[in-house]
């Protein structure tokens, strides 16, 4: 079970409420496989975290886990064991901005 925490705007868009998202991901989870599973469950999130065409992470979003910034890891790199086991969530954060 993979736990994902989304920024409030995306939780609202996907009608998720305030909680975490729990996803089943086969095999060793990666950023790509987790996002694939997330978009399959919540298709309205397609294109909001990574570009539809390039699949690049949107520049004002970051991926954090286990106290580390994973944003610049390769999308097919394995996520930490603590994420794979559900001990720690994968955080998707929007850049802080005024206004």
């Amino acid at each position: 079970m993979i736990r994902v925490i989304l920024p409030p705007h995306l939780r609202g868009l996907a009608h998720i409420g305030s909680g975490e998202v729990e996803l089943e991901v086969a095999g060793q989870p990666t950023q790509r496989s987790v996002l694939d599973a997330l978009e399959a469950r919540y298709p309205m999130l397609s294109g909001t975290i990574r570009d539809h065409v390039t699949q690049q992470r949107r520049p004002f979003l970051r991926f954090f886990a286990c106290g580390e910034d994973l944003s610049h890891e390769q999308p097919d790199a394995p996520l930490p064991d603590a994420i794979a086991s559900g001990v720690e969530p994968l955080l998707i954060l929007g850049a802080i901005a005024g206004g």
């Binding site: 705007h9 294109g47 909001t48 570009d51």
Partner: protein
């Protein structure tokens, strides 16, 4: 009894304002999509309960929303509640958010470059939908004007989008350049008498017209003079802010340019300046009274460097003669210490017997005049900055 529904897009959500035909007492619904920028909402004339919304974010990209019940509930087209969330092959149904420039061999054009702020060439990159224009006859068809400038069409109620690549492929693209707000296609007008004819405007490229339903396009900027570009009378490169027409007379178009208010009587083949006695002819909005084809409204803004009304007085200017002779209208509008702006998609007119005029400000006010501009009153005063205002006249 007739009523009106005003659709307001703001920096932090959408609001829907409704009233009866007197337009004195208002119900306010919202914020819808709280926290998101709503660049534009517009209802279908073929099915007034169908409303399209452009929900966008610098963080999360573009989302298209649709309501089929007059704005009470919303869906993202292609992902209706209760239906499978994946399509054949397991692909997620998020296609209503997907705007991909057409580079196919069959219908597309090579994705070249346009001019960037610094004069260098820059790749085309989709950023957001500025304007949604539903078909006048088919509730399933809607056009989207996007940044970086292109026009897309959906024929399935907003579920999927396909570029009309003949516009971007016109050949002048490398000379298009972004205004301060971006390289945006912000105006789409479908000719009510000739469905094959569509007018669009791009900041800063100018106005274009198709006469074959969107396959081919040509610039219609003859007569425009823009002293801020190297060749002031160039075929393209003009910063057109807004175009409007009266449905009974679609060959007559009115334009608010970066500077200058213009008019054409031949569907854009040539333009004449009609700024006349305006105190400044910089501005963003322009619209035409629904019952009087020669009655035109603008909101003069001091200058391109000072985006607020002259002397702190918010005034609409009205011409009843199709331009050149303008009268100031300020009754009910703030006449001191007012330094808001009125953005290009933030004026609308209803089609009741006495045409109502509406506009929204960057200060969060939406004003209405139920009598064609003589008297004004705020509907709301404290919304987030208003990006767009549309109105539906409902039976």
């Amino acid at each position: 009894m007739s009523k009106v529904r005003v659709l307001v897009g703001t920096r932090k959500g959408a609001f829907i304002l409704t009233s009866d035909g007197k337009r004195q007492n208002w119900d306010v619904s919202g914020p819808h999509f709280a926290g998101w920028e709503i660049y534009h909402m517009k209802g279908s004339t073929a099915d007034p309960n169908r409303i399209f919304a452009s929900q966008t974010s610098g963080w999360f990209g573009q989302v298209i929303q649709r309501s089929d019940d007059g704005g009470n509930t919303w869906i993202q087209p292609g992902t209706p509640p209760g239906e499978p969330t994946t399509g054949p092959g397991g692909m997620p149904k998020g296609e209503s958010n997907k705007f991909v420039y057409d580079v196919s061999k069959e219908s597309g054009k090579p994705l070249t470059t346009h001019q960037f702020y610094d004069g260098t060439q820059h790749p085309w990159e989709f950023k957001r939908v500025w304007h949604l224009e539903p078909s006048l006859t088919d509730p399933e068809t809607v056009y989207a004007g996007v940044e970086d400038a292109a026009i897309f069409r959906s024929t399935d109620g907003g579920k999927s989008w396909h570029e009309l690549a003949g516009l971007r492929g016109h050949g002048t693209g490398p000379r298009w350049q972004p205004g301060a707000g971006g390289l945006c296609l912000h105006t789409i007008i479908i000719d009510p008498k000739n469905p094959k004819r569509i007018f669009i405007a791009i900041s800063a490229a100018g106005a274009f017209r198709t006469d074959d339903g969107g396959t081919t396009w040509r610039p219609i900027n003859k007569g425009l003079y823009s002293k801020y570009i190297p060749e002031p009378t160039a075929e393209v490169g003009h910063c057109v802010h807004r175009i409007a027409l009266h449905p009974s007379r679609p060959d007559v178009l009115f334009m608010q340019k970066h500077w200058d208010v213009m008019r054409t009587d031949n569907a854009g083949d040539s333009w004449q300046k009609i700024s006349g006695n305006l105190p400044t002819d910089f501005g963003f909005v322009i619209d035409v009274n629904a019952n009087e084809p020669d009655t035109v409204y603008v909101v003069p803004i001091k200058s391109d460097g000072e985006h607020f009304p002259l002397d702190g007085k918010l005034r609409v200017y009205r011409s009843k003669s199709g331009g050149n002779e303008w009268e100031e209208l300020g009754k009910g509008l703030p006449q001191r210490d007012c330094y808001v702006n009125v953005l290009r998609d933030a004026m609308a007119v209803d089609s009741l017997d006495k045409s109502g005029i509406y506009f929204g400000t960057t200060g969060g006010q939406v004003y209405v005049s139920p009598d064609g501009g003589d008297n004004w009153a705020p509907i709301v005063r404290d919304l987030p900055a208003v990006l767009s205002v549309e109105v539906q006249t409902l039976a």
